[in-house]
C-alpha cells in the first residue's frame, strides 16, 4: 500500500517521461493563437447588443454575457436600458406552468437496447436527460452518451429537409417519387428492393419491418451496425444451438472474470452492470466483503482499471487464457465440460500463475462467480465462457438466459448485400439509419457498390457520407422528437414519447416504413395502432400509465433454461488455430467519446477526455511503451498501421499497462461529412477494418514521418507519491480501518482569528462524498454537469492551453510500474472548503461563503483577476479566457438550462453543488412549510453516476447518507494539512487482491 502511493520509488521515469514528450508536443505549435482570434469580430464582441425579443423568449439566460457587456457599456456611456419583451402563450398548453420545468419519461435506443430516461423540459425545450429509476437497464443512472444526446437534438448541422441529389425536396415530392416505384415493386414482390437498417430494440418497428417484408416478400432486409454482437450470438449458437442473451446479476457474483469484456462501459447494459458491480464494491465496515475482479484484456479499459488482478495480453492470447482456464478447471478442479480433456495452450509464466490462481478462486466460488467474454472475442470464447458458467453452476444465480430478439448475423448480412449490389440484384436500396459508406467493412467498399445501384434512398440524422452518395436523402428525427418504443436489455418495454415536435422536417424509420406500406401515418398514430392491436383494444388509461411510469410492467423476456452442447464447443476449439506468436495484432474497439462515430459532431463528447488516455478531440493508435520502443516510436509520432494491405497514417499514443504486441484502434473518428464539429477530427480507423478482421486482425506498424499534436486534459500521469488517491487492500483495511486518514500529516490547525462571529452549525450544511472504491471513471458525471450547468466547450487548441471548462474532472493516475501499471480515478469537483483559500484573495467579494456552507461564485461581481484559481490548491476553478460562446449557433441556446447563468468572457466559474437544484427544493420546502428530506436534492453528477459513487447531502443530519459516509473510517479530505476544511470528501479505494496471486 505504502508503495502504491509512492510510485516514483518504483517508477522514477513514468510521469516525467510522459511529461517530456508532452512538452515537446506543446512546443510544436507556439504562436498559433494569433490565427485563432479573428480580427473582424472584435468590435462585435465588445459592443455585443442586448437580446432581441424572440431570443429573450427563447432562452433569456443565455445572454448574461451580452447583458454584462451592455451593462458595462451603460457603465461607461450611460446609455438607455435594453427593450425586453414578454411573449406569453396565446393559449396555455395543458398542465404547463411557465417557469416550472417538467419531467417526462421516455426511452433512448442505443447499442440495440432501450435505456429508460427522464427528460426535463422547460417551456417545451428538453434541456436535461436523467435516468429513469424504474427502468431495469438504467435504475436512474445513464451513461455519457445519453447525457450528450440532448445536444444532438439541437445540432445545427442536422439534416433539415429531404434532398434529391443536391436539390432540396419536400416529403410530398418524395412520396410522389416513391408511389409509382412501389406499384412496380409490388408487382414482383419487391424484387431488387433492399433495406439496410440498424438492429432495433423497438418491437413496434420490428413488427413494421416484418409487415414491409410481408408486402415485399422478394425484398432483402439486412441489419448492420459496425459494433454488433455477432460474436456473442454466434458463441451462444455454438454452446446452446440457439441465440441467447445473457442476463447478468453481477451483484450476486463474488468472482468476476472478464475476458476482454469492458462490461462496465462498452458492453450493452453497462449502466446496470456498473450499478450491480458497484453494490458489491461498497464497504461500510470491516465486516463487509467485496467481489473480486479478474480482467484479461489488451487495451487498458476502465473495467481493467477497476481490476483486482489484471493480465494484459494480445487479443488472440486472451482466447488462449480461456482455453487454459478450461484446461485447469477440468484438469485440476474436476469440473465437467462434457468430459473432453482441454489442453492448455502456450502461455507466459505470469499468465499461467494468473490462470492457476483464477481457476482455484472460481472453483471455490461455484455458483457465485461469472466468466464474461468481450464482444471483440471470437465466438468460441463466448461459447466457452457460457459453458464454464454452466459448469460452475453460475447459470441461474448469476447468469440467466433469454432469447435474443433479433439475432441477425450482421457481418454476413452486409457482405451478402454487397455481393448482391455488385451483381446488380439490387436496384433500390433503402438505408434506414446507419452510415455504411463510412463504417461498413473496408474490403466491401460500400461507396463503390452504391454507385451500381440505380436508386438509393437514405434516411439519416446527418447528411452524412452515405446520404450524400444516395440520390434521395431523408432527414431522420431525434428520439426526443418522435413516438416509438424500445425494450430494455431484459425485454422490459418502454414507450418512447417525444418531448418536442420535430425541429426540422425529420421523420422516423417507423413513419418512413409506413410510406412503403402505402399508408403514411405519423408515429403517434402508428404506435397507438400497434398497441391497440397488441392489447386487443387500445386503452387510454393503460397508455397513460405506461407513459407516466416509463415502463410497461411484466413485459420482460421469458427466462430460458438449457444445457450447453459441450461437444460443439470443444469442436469449435479444436478447429481454432493457435495464434502465430510475434507480430502485432490490431484490435478495433468503440471510442469512449464518439462510440462508433455517431457522436462525432457532438462537441461535448469530442471534448470529453478519454477516461484512460485523457485525449480529447482525437483518437490514436494505442501502443504499449515496450511495443513503441521496439518500433522506435514516441508518443504523438505518426505511425503507419497496415492491415490486410490497407495502410493508415495515425498518431501513436503510448498507454501504460497496454498489452505488448498489439495496436488498439478506436473507431468513430475521421468523419468527412457530419458537421462543423466532427469533420476531419481524428483518424478513420474503419479504413483498416475488413470483414475477415472486424475486431481482431494481424497488423504491421512502422514509424511514419512527422509528429501529431495529441491534446490531453491531464498532462502529468504520475501521482508523485502524494497521498491524493488513497488506496489499500481489503486486508489492510480490515487490519487498520483508519489507514487512509493516517496517510496525511496534518498539524493541529492554528489560527490568527479567534473571534469568528459565525460557525457552520445551523442545518443544512451541504457536503459531498465521493467513493473512490466504486468510481469507475466513466465520465458520466462530467457530461451531466456540462449539460446541467451550461458549460461551454472550447475546442482542441484551447484545451491544449489547459483552458477546458469542465466543472468536475476525473483525474486518472497510473500507479505501479509503466509496463504493469494500475490506474486510479479521482473525480474532482469544487471542494467547497470552509476556509476557502480562493475567498480570501478575491478583491471584490465575488466568491465567498453562504450560511449553508457553499463556496459561492458570483459571476456578475467577478472582475476576473484569476487570483482565486491561483490560490485554489485543487485547481477546480475555470476561467472564461475568451467569449467561448461567441461563435455558437443560436439553436444551441435552446439546450441551455434556464436556471443557470451563462457566463460571459472574463469571469471565473466553478462547481456550485448544483445550487439551482438546492434552491428549487429549498423554496418548495419553504412553501410547503417542511424540511428538506435527505436525498431530495441530488446534484447532476450524483444523479447520473452509474455506481452511486457520489453522494450529496446535509452533513449535520446524522441520518443522511453523506453524514454516515463522513463517519466511515475510509473517509478523508484532500490536502487536509492545508486546513481548508473541504466539504467534499473522499472514501479511500480498496482493492481485493487474491493473496495466493501475491505469493506465486
Amino acid at each position: 500500500m505504502e508503495d502504491r502511493v509512492t510510485p516514483e520509488s518504483k517508477t522514477p521515469g513514468n510521469g516525467r517521461a510522459q511529461w517530456r514528450s508532452l512538452e515537446e508536443l506543446s512546443g510544436s505549435s507556439e504562436y498559433r493563437e494569433h490565427a485563432e482570434t479573428e480580427f473582424p469580430d472584435y468590435f462585435a464582441e465588445a459592443l455585443d447588443l442586448p437580446p432581441v425579443a424572440e431570443n429573450a423568449a427563447l432562452s433569456r439566460r443565455s445572454f448574461l454575457g451580452v447583458m454584462g457587456a451592455s451593462l458595462a457599456l451603460t457603465g461607461l456611456a450611460g446609455c438607455q436600458r435594453p427593450l425586453a419583451k414578454i411573449l406569453p402563450y396565446s393559449k396555455l398548453p395543458e398542465d404547463l406552468l411557465p417557469g416550472v420545468p417538467q419531467s417526462y419519461a421516455t426511452v433512448m435506443q442505443f447499442r440495440g437496447m432501450g435505456e429508460g430516461i427522464l427528460v426535463t423540459s422547460n417551456e417545451g425545450r428538453p434541456t436535461k436527460i436523467e435516468g429513469n429509476p424504474d427502468h431495469p437497464s438504467s435504475l436512474g443512472a445513464t451513461h455519457s452518451y445519453a447525457q450528450a444526446s440532448i445536444l444532438q437534438l439541437y445540432d445545427p448541422d442536422r439534416s433539415q429537409f429531404p434532398t434529391e441529389g443536391n436539390a432540396s425536396r419536400t416529403w410530398e415530392e418524395w412520396n410522389a417519387w416513391l408511389t409509382p416505384k412501389l406499384t412496380t415493386l409490388r408487382a414482383d414482390g419487391g424484387r431488387g428492393l433492399a433495406f439496410l437498417s440498424l438492429p432495433t430494440a423497438s418491437p413496434t418497428l420490428r413488427a413494421k419491418r416484418a409487415e414491409v417484408m410481408a408486402a415485399f416478400p422478394n425484398a432483402r432486409w439486412v441489419d448492420y451496425e459496425p459494433l454488433n454482437r455477432d460474436n456473442a450470438i454466434e458463441g451462444s449458437r455454438l454452446a446452446y444451438g440457439r441465440p441467447f442473451r445473457q442476463q447478468l446479476a453481477l451483484d450476486q457474483a463474488e468472482v468476476i472474470v472478464s475476458l476482454d469484456s469492458d462490461f462496465l462501459f462498452v458492453e450493452p447494459n453497462s449502466v446496470r452492470h456498473a450499478r450491480d458491480y458497484g453494490r458489491r464494491r461498497r464497504v461500510a465496515s470491516t465486516q463487509d466483503s467485496m467481489n473480486r475482479l479478474y480482467v484479461v484484456e489488451t487495451v487498458f479499459s476502465i473495467t481493467g482499471s477497476m481490476a483486482d488482478h489484471r493480465l494484459r495480453l494480445a487479443p488472440t492470447q486472451v482466447a488462449e487464457v480461456a482455453r487454459a482456464l478450461a484446461a485447469t478447471l477440468t484438469g485440476q478442479h474436476s469440473m465437467y465440460l462434457g468430459g473432453e480433456t482441454w489442453s492448455a495452450g502456450t502461455l507466459s509464466d505470469r499468465a499461467q500463475v494468473f490462470v492457476a490462481t483464477l481457476a482455484r478462486d472460481l472453483a471455490e466460488h461455484r455458483g457465485r462467480s461469472v466468466v464474461l467474454a468481450g464482444g471483440s472475442q471470437p465466438p468460441e470464447v463466448h461459447a466457452l465462457a457460457m459453458a464454464l458458467n454452466h459448469a460452475l453452476g453460475n447459470v441461474g444465480p448469476v447468469v440467466r438466459y433469454t432469447l435474443e430478439p433479433y439475432p441477425a448475423q450482421q457481418r454476413e448480412g452486409i457482405a451478402g448485400l454487397a455481393k448482391a449490389m455488385d451483381t446488380g440484384q439490387v436496384n433500390f436500396l433503402v438505408v434506414l439509419g446507419g452510415n455504411p459508406a463510412y463504417d461498413a467493412p473496408a474490403d466491401i467498399d460500400f461507396t463503390a457498390r452504391m454507385r451500381k445501384v440505380p436508386d438509393v434512398a437514405c434516411l439519416s440524422f446527418y447528411r452524412d457520407e452515405t446520404a450524400e452518395k444516395a440520390n434521395w436523402h431523408l432527414p431522420e428525427t431525434h428520439f426526443l422528437e418522435t413516438w416509438g418504443d424500445a425494450e430494455a436489455w431484459d425485454g422490459t418495454r418502454s414507450i418512447q414519447q417525444p418531448l418536442i415536435a420535430p425541429m426540422y422536417q425529420g421523420k422516423s424509420e417507423l413513419e418512413v416504413l409506413s410510406m412503403f406500406l402505402g399508408r403514411p401515418l405519423d408515429s403517434h398514430a402508428l404506435l397507438q395502432e400497434a398497441y391497440g392491436r397488441e392489447w386487443g383494444v387500445f386503452s387510454g388509461s393503460r397508455w397513460d400509465r405506461a407513459l407516466n411510469d416509463g415502463v410497461l410492467p411484466g413485459t420482460a423476456y421469458a427466462e430460458i433454461t438449457a444445457t450447453p452442447d459441450f461437444s460443439s464447443v470443444t469442436a469449435a476449439w479444436s478447429r481454432r488455430t493457435p495464434p502465430a506468436s510475434g507480430g502485432i495484432e490490431a484490435l478495433f474497439r468503440p471510442d469512449y467519446s464518439v462510440w462508433d462515430g455517431r457522436f462525432a459532431n457532438n462537441s461535448w463528447m469530442q471534448e470529453l477526455p478519454d477516461p484512460m488516455t485523457k485525449i480529447v478531440w482525437d483518437n490514436a493508435a494505442l501502443l504499449s511503451s515496450k511495443t513503441a520502443e521496439s518500433l522506435g516510436v514516441k508518443d504523438g509520432d505518426l505511425v503507419s498501421v497496415s492491415v490486410a494491405n490497407r495502410d493508415l497514417e495515425i498518431a501513436a499514443c503510448i498507454v501504460p499497462g497496454l498489452a505488448d504486441g498489439a495496436v488498439v484502434l478506436p473507431l468513430g473518428y475521421g468523419r468527412k461529412r457530419v458537421g462543423r464539429v466532427g469533420d476531419g477530427v481524428g483518424f478513420n480507423t474503419y479504413a483498416l477494418r475488413t470483414t475477415t478482421g472486424m475486431d481482431i486482425a494481424p497488423a504491421s506498424v512502422k514509424a511514419g514521418a512527422g509528429h501529431y499534436t495529441l491534446v490531453r486534459t491531464q498532462d502529468h500521469q504520475a501521482i508523485e507519491g502524494r497521498p491524493l488517491v488513497r488506496e489499500g487492500t481489503l486486508e489492510e483495511y480490515r487490519k487498520d480501518p483508519e489507514f487512509a486518514r493516517e496517510m496525511n500529516e496534518a498539524p493541529p490547525p492554528l489560527t490568527l482569528y479567534t473571534n469568528k462571529e459565525y460557525d457552520f452549525s445551523k442545518p443544512p450544511q451541504w457536503g459531498m462524498a465521493i467513493d473512490l472504491n466504486t468510481c469507475i471513471g466513466c465520465n458520466a458525471c462530467t457530461i451531466a454537469c456540462q449539460s446541467e450547468n451550461n458549460i461551454p466547450t472550447v475546442g482542441k487548441e484551447q484545451v491544449k492551453k489547459n483552458r477546458e471548462m469542465h466543472w468536475i474532472r476525473i483525474d486518472r493516475y497510473y500507479v505501479g510500474d509503466v509496463e504493469e501499471a494500475e490506474a486510479v480515478h479521482q473525480p474532482i469537483p469544487c471542494m467547497h472548503c470552509e476556509n476557502a483559500p480562493c475567498e480570501n484573495v478575491c478583491p471584490v467579494n465575488a466568491t465567498n461563503h453562504s450560511a449553508d456552507g457553499l463556496n459561492q461564485m458570483v459571476y456578475n461581481r467577478c472582475i476576473g483577476t484569476r487570483y482565486c484559481n491561483n490560490n485554489c490548491p485543487y485547481k477546480v476553478r475555470r476561467f472564461n479566457f475568451l467569449a467561448w460562446r461567441k461563435h455558437e449557433p443560436e439553436v444551441i441556446k435552446m439546450a441551455m438550462n434556464p436556471d443557470v447563468t451563462v457566463r460571459m468572457r472574463g469571469v471565473m466559474e466553478k462547481c456550485t453543488y448544483c445550487v439551482q437544484r438546492i434552491n428549487r427544493k429549498r423554496i418548495e420546502a419553504k412553501i410547503a412549510q417542511r424540511d428538506i428530506q435527505d436525498g431530495e436534492i441530488r446534484t447532476a453528477c450524483q444523479q447520473v453516476c452509474p455506481t452511486e459513487a457520489i453522494i450529496f447531502g446535509d452533513l449535520l443530519d446524522s441520518e443522511s447518507r453523506v453524514a454516515k459516509l463522513k463517519a466511515e473510517e475510509r473517509s478523508y479530505t484532500l490536502l487536509e494539512e492545508l486546513n481548508t476544511q473541504p466539504r467534499t470528501f473522499f472514501l479511500a479505494r480498496l482493492r481485493n487482491p487474491n493473496s495466493e496471486m501475491e505469493k506465486a
Binding site: 425579443a53 423568449a57 433569456r60 439566460r61 445572454f63 448574461l64 447583458m67 454584462g68 451593462l71 457603465g75 450611460g78 436600458r81 427593450l83 425586453a84 419583451k85 414578454i86 411573449l87 406569453p88 402563450y89 396565446s90 393559449k91 396555455l92 406552468l97 411557465p98 417557469g99 416550472v100 465567498n848 453562504s850 450560511a851 449553508d852 457553499l854 459561492q856 458570483v858 459571476y859 456578475n860 461581481r861 436556471d899 443557470v900 447563468t901 456550485t912 445550487v915 439551482q916 434552491n919 423554496i923 419553504k926 412553501i927 412549510q929
Partner: protein, 213 residues
Amino acid sequence: MIFPKWTNRTPLPVAVGGGFVLILVVTAFAYYISPYSTQVGYAPTQPVPYSHKLHAGALGMDCRYCHVAVERSPVAMVPVSQTCMNCHSVIKKDSDKLAPIRQSVDTGLPVQWVRVHHAPDFVYFNHSAHVNAGVGCESCHGRIDQMEVVRQAKPLNMAWCLDCHRSPEKYVRPPEFVTAMGYVPAGNQLELGRQLVAARNIHPPTDCWGCHR
C-alpha cells in the same frame, strides 16, 4: 517679469473651483452606480392599452385571476391571450383596442408585451417564494390598481432587495392580504411582522446564491 498683485487672490478660487469640479465628477459616477439611480418611472407603451387602474382598481379583480402562476412558479406569468377572452368574448367583444388579443387568439401567435420590471439575467427572482412568504404584490410593484399604464414603482436594485431580505418584518403581511392594494397593517407593522416571521419561519437569504446562480 513679476506677477501682478492681484494674482495673489487667484490661488484660493482656483483651488476651490478645481476641488469642486473633481468632487462633481466623482459624485456623478458614484450616483450613477448608487442605489439612488434607478429605473423608477419606466412606463413603456404596451401593444394593448390595458388599464390596471380599471381592472385591478375599479373592477377590483384579484391579481391572481390573470397572473395565475404567481403562487406556484418563479414567474408571475403575463396572462395568455385566452385569459383576456374569458371576459372579452362577451364584453367589448369588438373593441379595436383588443384587436391584437383577438388576433393572437386566432393566429396562436403571442402578443408582444413590453417588459416593465426587468431583473438582469443573472438575477433569479422567484414569485412563488415571495408571495407565499407574505410579500405583497404592492411591496414591489406599487399601487398597480392606480396605474393607467404600468410603470416601475420601486428601484428593484440589489440594495433595495436587501433591505427586505435583512429585515422582512418591515414588510411581510398575512397571506390573505398579499394581493391587497393599499394594505394597512392592523396595528404596528413591526410587531405584526415579527410575529409573522416567527410563525412562518421566514428567513430570507442574504447569501449571493439566494438570487445569483
